[in-house]
């Protein structure tokens, strides 16, 4: 090497070796840049596949197949509203076996189906919710009794899957859930124009159900809202006050150091550990009610607290010292400086952090599994101590259900959840852009 060093010659940049070297370097450059670009595109592709796949299934979840049947509202089954009192009539209608009405109607459409077994199979093409549908119609309008009306009834999940093309009619019968006989009935109804696909409001307005065509997300949405309310009521004030204290007032000693390290660590603790805490403390020690949004909210509040504290501290730190100095110079007390000047200026950042924390809490499932929020709950919860599920838990429950029609319900519920999350994140971004101050 030392020999070479002695006889240094100026590099000939135009020599063929050098040209090749530069070419090689440029090629490497291109490759590297391409690699980076590929990484970004890959990430984008993952997102598109994820959303696309779920949206592809989920959009079916918002529509539902109905079958239109000529329903004879027979007096012999429903009772005569003109001859009995209103209360008696309603009681009678509640008790009445609506299946017989539907059966009679189906007999009209399929006079050649005679055996009891076949008739039951025929009845199974209509959702179990159809009974309640007819009952409510009669209760709302007693004058229907004695007439025959064309009524649009919900179809069962199998017919629904067939209509949506998710059960392949061309497969051999043995491998298909819907048998040839039922397929024939379905075809006949379809040719008569009685099968239709409509927007399904039940999905947005009702609670859970064992029947996919009757299941809805309103119960879970209310449960999520109640849970978030508790979370917000606890995490927001405590988080902001802690951030103010640590950033503006805390003396620099070992205790505050400990708190700081501690908060950073809490932010990285897996969410399921918070669930264990909730199980042991809120359920085990404090005996709060199981499956209640109150417990879920408390657990999630502890989980979101570090997020809010860290965001608020960053936002408070970003307020320039000159503002504090100016306020101090005009005679404001430290407390006045903070509450009149620093906090209002930091508020957009604090709110952004809070919303992001809330969005995290809304999507969180694991801690809720630990505190009994995974249950079959039909009724819409009315308060924070009622039993409830939350949206992500409902997704988890449906993802486990045997009926295959639940796949699209699950995806549809995911779409609703994602809509909420994107709305919340959008709000946070809007707040940040609208109120962000550059000093």
């Amino acid at each position: 090497m030392s020999d070479n060093a002695k006889e240094i010659k100026p590099t000939d940049w135009h020599s063929p070796e050098m040209n090749a070297r530069i070419k090689r370097r440029y090629r490497k450059e291109k490759w590297f840049k391409g690699l980076g670009f590929t990484a970004v595109i890959l990430a984008a592709m993952f997102l598109v596949t994820l959303i696309g796949r779920i949206a592809g299934d989920g959009l079916y979840g918002f529509v539902q197949t109905s079958i239109e049947l000529d329903i004879p509202f027979e007096e012999s089954i429903l009772g005569n509203p003109r001859e009995m009192s209103k209360a008696d009539f309603e009681e009678n209608v509640r008790r009445a076996n609506m299946l017989r009405i539907i059966d009679a109607s189906l007999q009209g459409h399929f006079p050649d189906v005679k055996s009891r077994r076949d008739r039951r199979e025929l009845l199974r093409m209509v959702s179990t919710g159809a009974r309640a549908q007819i009952r409510d119609m009669v209760l709302a309008n007693p004058s229907l009794v004695g007439t025959t009306e064309r009524v649009r009834l919900l179809a069962s999940d199998d017919v629904d899957q067939l209509r949506k093309g998710r059960i392949d009619a061309s497969e051999p019968e043995a491998n298909r859930k819907v048998k040839d006989k039922e397929l024939g009935w379905y075809q006949k109804l379809k040719e008569e124009g009685r099968v239709s696909l409509n927007f399904h409001t039940t999905f947005l307005t009702s609670g859970d159900s064992r029947d996919p065509e009757l299941a809805g997300i309103w119960g879970a949405t209310v449960g999520s809202a109640l849970t978030l309310l508790v979370t917000l009521a606890i995490a927001f004030p405590i988080g902001v006050l802690t951030a103010i204290y640590l950033e503006e007032f805390a003396p620099k000693n070992r205790l505050t150091d400990l708190i700081e390290v501690n908060i950073n660590n809490l932010a990285a603790v897996p969410s399921i550990v918070f669930g264990l805490l909730g199980l042991a403390v809120f359920l085990g020690v404090m005996h709060l009610p199981r499956s209640a949004p109150l417990v879920g909210g408390l657990t999630l509040a502890l989980m979101t607290l570090p997020t809010i504290i860290i965001a608020s501290r960053a936002s408070i730190k970003a307020v320039p010292p000159s503002i504090r100095d100016a306020a101090r110079g005009l005679g404001a007390s430290p407390m006045q400086v903070v509450f009149h000047h620093v906090v209002p200026l930091a508020m957009p950042g604090i709110l952004t952090g809070t919303i992001i924390g809330m969005a995290q809490a809304l999507g969180e499932t694991a801690p809720l599994l630990m505190i009994g929020m995974v249950a079959f709950i039909v009724d819409i919860p009315g308060g924070v101590t009622d039993a409830a599920t939350a949206l992500p838990v409902q997704i988890f429950l449906w993802a486990d259900s045997p009926e295959r029609a639940f796949v699209e319900k699950t995806s549809a519920a995911i779409l609703v959840l994602l809509t909420f999350l994107i709305a919340m994140n959008g709000l946070a971004i809007w707040l940040r852009q609208k109120f962000e101050q550059h000093w």
């Binding site: 490497k28 450059e29 490759w31 590297f32 840049k33 690699l35 980076g36 670009f37 990484a39 970004v40 990430a43 984008a44 993952f46 997102l47 596949t49 994820l50 796949r53 779920i54 006050l241 802690t242 204290y245 640590l246 007032f249 805390a250 708190i259 501690n262 908060i263 950073n264 660590n265 809490l266 990285a268 603790v269 897996p270 399921i272 550990v273 264990l276 805490l277 199980l279 042991a280 403390v281 502890l302 607290l305 007390s333 430290p334 407390m335 809304l362 999507g363 499932t365 694991a366 599994l369 630990m370 992500p392 997704i395 988890f396 993802a399 699950t410 995806s411 994602l418 999350l421 994140n425």
Partner: protein
Amino acid sequence: MTSSAIFLFLVMLALGSFVFARQKALAGAGGDPAKLHSLPRHYGYFAATCVLLPGLFAFGIWVIFGNSIIEGLILSGVPDRVFEQNGDQATLVLNRIRLAVENPNSPETDPDILAAAAKFQAIYLKGIWAAFVLSISLGLVGLYVAVNRTKPDFRARNKFERVVLITLGMSSVIAIATTLGIVASLLFESLRFFQEVSIAEFVFGLHWSPQTALRADQVASAGAFGAVPLFAGTLLISFIAMLVAGPIGLLAAIYLTQYASQRMRKIAKPMLEVLAGVPTVVYGFFAALTVAPLFRDMGITLGLDIASESALAAGIVMGIMIIPFVSSLSDDAITAVPKSLKDGSLALGATPSETIKQVVLPAALPGIVGAFLLAISRAVGETMIVVMAAGMQPNLTANPFEAVTTVTVQIVALLTGDQEFDSAKTLSAFALGLALFVSTMVLNVIALKIVRKYREVYD
């Protein structure tokens, strides 16, 4: 009259005393604020605090204990006969009374219950009025004290700010309390677990089969608590996740900070944020429904034996989940490298990629390592993806095509279902939780240390 009404009354009283004290202070100074020690509203704040603190204290006592007091009073009036009817369970008797109270048409026929229900309303009213009178009168005492002290030379602002400062300090203690709560609850249950199973077996045991017999006459399983297969499974899945997230996240961060146009950044950054915001249960659903069957079918065409809940599927989806995490943290580390270093290298004729590889990345390395460590700790603690897409079999294997189970899966499996706090099976979930807590915390502390050290070099 309800509890919230008491609360509202207190708030209104506080508002009233604010106005009153403010006026009184002003009047005491002859209408000239300059003669007061503090601003007039500080006297108001002080008075409001004096009203609220004792008032809310009494209210809090009512909220926490009021119920049990009323219940005790009601139950003491119910004859023993009714208790015997309900297996000596006070909650059952109470429920009957409550139902009778809430629903006047309830089918309840027992005269004693009905009598108690009739009494309930009266006692409840007495109780709530007592709570009302107590909290309001405590508030009024506070008001009296405050008004007495409202003189022009009273240091109202300092007093009030003292209260605020204490409130601030107390809320910051809650974060500590949470950690203590976690540690205490995990430790308490874990210690009970380690009384039954030795620590050595838990930490070094190679066999995990927690199904201890639930009843004495059930001999189906023996029960073994060696956690090594769980940690091995967790590590395997996290490793696969990092194989995906590490390169993609880092390269994306490099591209977005060094090459991408402003417009591209504007599109790509929110996209990564959306990817980060997707709930994990959605990733789990995606993994179980789409990715796992895809790999299985691929395995069949390639002649490979890939389990339907292979570590590979769960790991790759988890990798996708932590891409944004890696990329945003690496992004921060890369942008923090002083521009002068980069410019110097470019000026010497290095191509951008050479600059990045030989100057920027080494300078940002501690930050990137920290980012990777934080991402690993995220992957280790992730629950829903593995619960939905990974297996339940505690396999000790490094084969990504086989099914493995993880610590978090086992916690969920052990605790959803039978929630009694005494069998070794349930307690072992807390021991696993403790192990998880400790390991993520250690990872986190190391990561933060590395990041902090790196900051000292350039700032």
